[in-house]
Symmetry: C2
Subunit: 199 residues, 2 copies
């Protein structure tokens, strides 16, 4: 790749390090940066630095935040009796988009995955258990992904939490809204059938 000037090559490499961006995609993004106004390029550069320097985990729920605790944990109108346990901060955003959930969250920052060498000690499990100590929380919703790792993590946590006298629940399985029966896999269809509710 000797044709590219060194700073351009470096920028391409930086983009290519990101998951989901290949060498050609990285080059396309780098050229876009070069085509920006200088102010815009500086704003982009600063945004990366700032985000990395200012953002850390909320001391309560472990979600990303700028302050010591996050806006959700600080919000007095939220229902403090319910904690929704999710894998990543992105999942919090997804739930908040529904505008239906009014409880608190707990971000694990990963799922138990023996194949990837991720054990319980790498997840924020101790922080979750600490939140259940004073008896305010009465329900913990396991909102991990419906995958092998998500199920295993939910099951593991549920076994830890139940003895504390806190109810644990799991997100419902079933047909995706707007989906087509024909294209739904067998396991999901079976779950939708066994989980059927009265109309």
């Amino acid at each position: 790749m000797g044709v590219n000037a060194a700073p351009l090559e470096k920028l391409i490499e930086q983009f290519a390090r990101l998951n989901g961006i290949g060498r050609k995609g990285a080059a396309r993004l780098a050229y876009q940066v070069l085509a920006m106004d200088h102010e815009q390029a500086l704003a982009f550069s600063d945004a990366i630095r700032d985000a990395h320097e200012k953002i850390h985990r909320c001391v309560v729920c472990q979600n990303f935040t700028e302050a010591e605790d996050c806006v959700i944990c600080r919000d007095a109108t939220r229902d403090r009796s319910t904690i929704c346990v999710v894998e990543s901060p992105r999942d919090v955003t997804a739930f908040e988009h529904t505008r239906e959930y009014k409880g608190l969250y707990h971000v694990l920052h990963g799922l138990i995955s023996p194949t990837e060498g991720i054990g319980v000690e790498q997840l924020s499990v101790q922080e979750l258990l600490a939140r259940l100590a004073d008896g305010t929380v009465t329900e913990v919703i396991m909102a991990t992904n419906p995958t092998v790792e998500g199920e295993a993590t939910a099951l593991y946590l549920s076994r830890l939490i139940k003895p504390l006298g806190v109810k644990t629940t799991r997100l419902a399985y079933g047909l995706p809204v707007g989906g087509n029966l024909e294209y739904v896999d067998d396991v999901t269809l079976y779950r939708a059938l066994t989980g059927r509710g009265e109309m």
Copy 2:
């Protein structure tokens, strides 16, 4: 999107400004930046700033370079009688990858496109004509994309250059190597047929 801390939201916005990256993709990339080591995040931030500050257009061929003129224009072993005219620096990289072309390049930084309001004056056409003045160049290869804009630009430039006594050529049309006749469009097949060569 009030859930995200401001610096995170800013970073997501910066990624989302790039073409080909949507809001969800931008969020995914921003979370990756947060998960980086601090050194790595700084290197990324600096790469953007550096590329934008250090890279400019080669005074000769208009390709991106760190020095005044680019490595290709400076290379004494290149054939100075041939100029390959391309739309963007990415096309130079593509040609260099073939390791077959030994001449020089000229980067237009765009194509004539009335629908997008891009006229000749926005392209580096004057710089190209200036390079043809001293008679060193005997052939200009039009290597713009085989699209309406690419064709129009090639035709326009060819009409400008021919009166200067310089030969203009166009990249060959035909079957893509490794392709399948069945899936080739009619126009390409017709071009491959009319452009057939003796074996």
